[in-house]
Every structure is written in structure tokens, then in C-alpha cells.
Amino acid sequence: MLLADIVKLLTATSVSSVANLDQHIENAGASDLMSDVLALTKPESVLLTGLCTPQVVRTAEMVDLKAIVFVRNKWPDAVTVKLADEMGLPLFSSPFPLYEACGLLYQAGLPGLLDRRDPNDHWLSVAAQDGRRSVQRTTGNSRGSL
């Protein structure tokens, strides 16, 4: 799905100076918890969130997010927008609440971050593995896929 299609489905307004509407988006995820975003985001994703802080933009940078959509008409402050502009990250604001925004994209065929065909790709199993591994003070471990 193109970013332009997402923006249209969510009747979103561009917040930052870059829009890159012709980019391909493979997945979407929604969370207000930055550690969840850091743990679960796949490449080529867009994030839907109700959190409007510079940390959301920083988090997006670390996981190569393609765009952020703020829900319920939330609008980030100037510092947050400036940071996104500096790194060329498109920000949007949509009037839809988080649940509805997710539903619209899912219904239109945009997959989420889980791959149910892969039993190791469910975040519950990821969390369980982490729990087991974490009893060691020093870990040299194989990685789960993000």
C-alpha cells in the first residue's frame, strides 16, 4: 500500500514538511509504548500513535519507520516537528481514534506486525523467550526476528 493510500483512508493532514506519499508501506503497528515499538516494528512500517513527544520521532528513527500518524487530531509541538523534518520523516494527523484508524487500514489489507503463519513471530513467544534468557546475567544469544 502506498503512504498516499493510508493518508487518504485516514483523512490525515500532513504535519511535517516532507510527505513522501509515493513510498510503499508493508506493515502498520499501533502503540503508545515506545519499548513495544522498538521491540516489534518491522522494516517499511508506519506507526499509529496517540503519543506526541519528540521521543516518538527518535524511536521512529531507530527502527527506520517510514511515517507516523498521530490519531484523534493530535498535533505534535514545534520541537517534535523540527526533529522529524531534520531526518526527513513524514508526520500526519488523523481525526480517527486509534482503534478506528487501525480498523480502516487493516480492512483495506495493510498487515500488522505479526505473522501468524510463523509461530516464532508472535510477540508472546518472543516475550517468553526473553523471560527465560534473562535469568542469566551475561547473555550470548540468538536473536528473534523483529
Binding site: M62, A127, V135, R137, T138
Partner: protein, 146 residues
């Protein structure tokens, strides 16, 4: 196989504890350095996520800290050390969901108790040394050959 001589990259960065407006700046700088030296995309991603989680932990939980980066052809080494309260029970702290973060920190999207387990999953090697009342040192290694 011939191994070309390669300069070892070594650099240090200061982190200001409790300064949320600048939280993530060091991770962002390190990320750009890794891009400049041509580290593999997947390694940069893992390193960025884990470094950012560690930097946020210093900002959230400690008074001040620093990140030492060293990199060569084979691996990236990140050492995050802080002056702070230290971690009383490391096994407990490593458990997904365990957090002592304040309500204020949670409102910023952190404090899910996922940071240390994220780091363990992203790094090829993780070790934590913590002295209660003094501080914490997190050492992580990321191999560039996957």
C-alpha cells in the same frame, strides 16, 4: 581469506541524566556514524534500538552517563555507563514488564519494563555490572556478520 587492515573506530559521548528533551541524541549520532562507516543495515538497526534503550535508561533512571563506541570490521561494541542508583535485583530488572519508572516517564511512552529484554534480544552479547548506590555499566556487542 585475507583480512584487510582496518582502523579501529573509538568515540565517547556524554549523556545528561533526566534531560528528556535531548534524550536519544547520542544514539542518533552513533547511528549516523555506523551508517557512514558502512555497517550492514540489519546490524545498524539492532545496535540503534539497543543503544537507544540503554540511553533512555540512563536518562530515566540515573544522574549522568556516557556511551563508548568502538567498531571494527567484525563487531560494534557499545558500553553505556552511568552514575546512578544502580540495580538492586538484576534478574528482576531483566524480566519483561518489571519497571520502577515514574508516572511522568510512563506518560512519555516509557516504563513498560521492556528495555533490558529488548537489549538482550538485539545484542549478540550483553553483560550488566551494577553497584547499588554507585551506578550501572551495560556492555553490548553486535557482530556485523549477522
Amino acid at each position: 581469506m585475507t583480512i584487510e587492515p582496518l582502523e579501529q573506530l573509538v568515540q565517547s559521548f556524554e549523556i545528561a541524566g533526566q534531560d528528556f528533551s535531548r534524550a536519544g541524541e547520542v544514539s542518533s549520532k552513533i547511528r549516523r556514524i555506523l551508517q557512514q562507516i558502512g555497517a550492514p543495515v540489519e546490524t545498524i538497526r539492532r545496535t540503534s534500538v539497543a543503544t537507544y534503550e540503554a540511553e533512555m535508561n540512563v536518562v530515566i533512571h540515573a544522574q549522568s552517563g556516557r556511551i563508548d563506541l568502538s567498531a571494527d570490521r567484525c563487531a560494534i561494541q557499545i558500553t553505556v555507563s552511568d552514575v546512578g542508583p544502580g540495580i538492586v535485583d538484576l534478574d528482576l530488572a531483566m524480566q519483561p514488564g518489571y519497571s520502577t519508572a515514574s508516572e511522568e516517564v510512563r506518560e512519555m511512552g516509557f516504563g513498560a519494563g521492556m528495555g533490558l529484554s529488548n537489549m538482550a534480544r538485539c545484542a549478540d552479547d550483553l553483560s550488566i555490572d551494577s553497584v547499588v548506590g554507585q551506578g550501572t555499566t551495560v556492555k553490548m556487542q553486535f557482530r556485523t556478520n549477522g
